[in-house]
């Protein structure tokens, strides 16, 4: 028995008949074709699949696609404006906050939510806020620095700094 699901992802509308058991992450990757969201475990530990669903950070492997019916979803592909990176993406680049890059989309989406809730976090708050996102390459050192740098740029009243375009 298939069910109809309609979602908006990064501003575009998608509608499909899906098996009720289809996970949201697989919907995003296979039916919407947005492969920036990754799968790194089967147990919701790694956070590589983190996306925004109705403004909340969600591990998209913990949710069925049918549960997201009607939702507004943002994935990593929706973050940059054209070739202008989002300040968090820019900060991950500036601070060498990634190596192999596989955890990075989920890490950035989790960081986005973290800064929305707490625009000026301490190092400890950043580390605790990222507890659900695993990285095996960076030892988290530069991820923390990247989020601190992004927080500065994104702070209300911060000098409007235009990140460099990606050519």
């Amino acid at each position: 028995m298939r069910r109809r699901v309609a979602v908006t992802i990064n501003g575009a509308k998608y509608e499909h008949e899906v098996e009720p058991r289809l996970l949201l992450v697989h919907y995003i990757r296979e039916l919407a074709g947005l492969t920036g969201t990754h799968v790194g475990c089967d147990t919701s530990n790694c956070g590589a699949c983190t996306v925004d669903v109705n403004g909340h950070s969600v591990k998209s492997c913990t949710m069925f696609a049918v549960q997201a019916d009607g939702a507004e979803i943002m994935t990593i592909e929706g973050l940059a404006k054209g070739t202008t990176l989002h300040p968090i993406q820019q900060a991950f680049w500036d601070e060498h906050g990634l190596q192999c890059g596989f955890c990075t989309p989920g890490m950035i989406m989790a960081a986005k939510q973290l800064l929305e809730r707490n625009p000026n976090p301490t190092e400890r708050e950043i580390r605790l806020g990222l507890e659900g996102n695993l990285c095996r390459c960076t030892g988290y050192h530069n991820i923390v620095k990247a989020i601190q740098a992004a927080a500065k740029v994104m702070a209300p009243g911060a000098e409007a700094k235009t990140p460099a375009s990606v050519s």
């Binding site: 969201t37 790194g40 147990t43 990593i76 990176l85 580390r127 507890e131 990285c135 095996r136 030892g139």
Partner: protein, 783 residues
Amino acid sequence: MAVSQMIGASIKRREDPRLVTGTGSYVDDIPQTAVVHMHVVRSTEAHARILSIETGRAREADGVLAVFTGKDLKSEFNAPLPVTVCFVPDKKYPNHYPIAVDKVLYAGEPVAIVLATSRAAAEDAGERIDIRYESLSPVLDIEKAIEKDAPVLHEEIGSNLSFDVKFASGDIEAAFREADVKIKQRLIQQRLIPVAVEGRGVLADYKPFTNKLTVYTSTQIPHFVKVWLAVILGISESNVRVVAPEVGGGFGSKIRVYPEEILTALASRRIGRPVKWIEDRNENVKATHHGRSQIWDVEIAAKKDGTLLGIRPTQWLDLGAYCSQFGTFQVLGVLVAQGAYKMKAFDGRSVGVFTNRTPTDAYRGAGRPEATYLIERVMDLIARETGLDPVEVRRKNFVRAEDQPFTTLLGLTYDSGDYTITLDKALEMVDYKGFRKEQAEKRKQGKYLGIGLATYIEICGLGPAAATQAATGVSLWGMSVVNLHFTGKATVIIGSSPHGQGHETTYAQVASDVLGIPVEDIDVVHGDTAIGPMGMNTYGSRSTALDGNAVHLSAMKVQEKAKKIAAHLLEAAEADVVYENGKAFVKGTPSKSITIQEIAMAAFQTNRIPKGMEGGLEATTFFDPSNFVWPFGAHIAVVEVDADTGATKILRYVAVDDCGTRINPMVVDGQLHGGIAQGIGQALFEEAVYDEAGQLRSGSLTDYLIPAAPDVPSFELAATVTPSPVNPLGTKGIGEAGTIASSVTVINAIVDALAPFGVKDVIMPATPDKIWHLMHRNGGSNR
């Protein structure tokens, strides 16, 4: 050398814009129409005979295209999976084929494959395969594996012993006779699961009629995978193309030719369609090789003034169910166990055994973390026994700068290094003396601080062709091609295959430094066997020492030819032409220069190059250094152990590393951060646990803990720079140094913290439970 100042510049990585936007393509992201999904049905038994496999119900399931068992496929394997020499030429090992036929030897071994139109359909059908096993007693203990009555995994070998080899030099008996201090200690290197955040994955497309095979695979070794796909499947090597696209971490776990690479390609050939297999985490923890899994017994001979006389280490190595491709590379642990120290005698032994568990192979450091763990625990054990400071024991025994190049008892020659410089700097950064005072104060308050150090040396840059040919069976050259285009842009092809290390950036810096072409005009390409000569891939912290230097040398060859063309165009003698910052000019007249872009264009115009010169501006290098490279460093951890919970908190982590010339210090530091965290994982959290039936109990990231952000501190790094004399850039390796040093650094700190409780050793992982029991074993009377 640094004409353009690119060497030593922390420029931002060129890889990152695609990766931070989710537009990079890992294997599972590659668009492919009409792809068939492969599911691997794996053994649920650790040790059993296969009595029957009933596939009829699976074949009838919705969406299923084919089901194959080992029996169906075995005639298509022209050779078993490869096993390299790796220090033990006379080891016994079985032929290992990609899929089990009669017997399974570990839980997770492939027994059947299902091909279907969707992954879900393939997995559902896999559930409908009925496999009957005759269970056999599993062998799960390294020492019991070689007892007389142990069940035997490989009947053709006759026992579970693969090898028992000695690596000895000097008079060890004399050393013990001279010793005032004799210590025996058992150390455990627990079994680890590498956990690259991207598991493995393979997309294979075999084209009938042309007989061409293209394989995308998440690997560190696309060039070796190409060779073995050709050999095992009987395809002409020139018809096989292997591509490593974005690879989501490796840490050694993607260093070998895997069964699933062969099976996916074979499946594609059987059904004439592209086939994809993506490993899920549940498979990854069992099907991708593990690391370490060793017991070390060591006897130490020392004098009461702290002088180390000799050691007698035995490494009991668990190979797992088969001998993996580089499985015995881990024996390197014995070969380099002398560390940064002098001694009179070394009596090493390594014993390799088979058990009914996932095969072990290289995992970040591969032998060197074990060697460092051993010798750095030895230093602390001597300090404890003699009452000397651990720092002084190390100083007393250091190989000194004037001893370099120093040859170890086993005949390895260190290239360079003054080990006191990194140690002094690290001690200063941590304020060692001040810490000891604070520690004493805190102990009075019932707070247990500890400080631990490791002064490591590391062999890497694999390596010189002759030595690596003897040790591994392959000459591990560095390879590069530097090719200038008509418009003066450059393509650099490298033989290394990065998976997070940033070669696209650092090697562009190397080429830019020589040629003066801007980094943004240099494209570095890798990981595709169709684009250039055979490369030797990425592992063992070899890439920059080998392929990075190969890029330098190819760029130098291009520069030489460019000077010849420039001399012709400037109507000057070649000896009078100077090349600087991308321009050639006659000595003394830099204003009348010709740019590399103009020279590149001339290289394709026969009337503008000297008579008889071949056109084009391209060079290829197979770089063979005269020796390995030997980075070194000193790491110090400060920990606090909670007496109520046994939990360890790392308060500070200081590391001073010397990897020679640092091309991009930002990237170097990044490698250290990740490496240190990975070693901390071994020290505090990680352990692959099997039950008595041979089932992996820590089979998910819920049960197998890798460090998360709150578990590690920010790291305090510094560097000294001792250029390697064995390559033109002076670079050494840095990919594994963090891991090599950090496990023992943290354990030494914990043991130091627990000194008031009479604790001399802690077995990894140092979990709160273990530590609490050590603190309370006498009813807490020591508190």
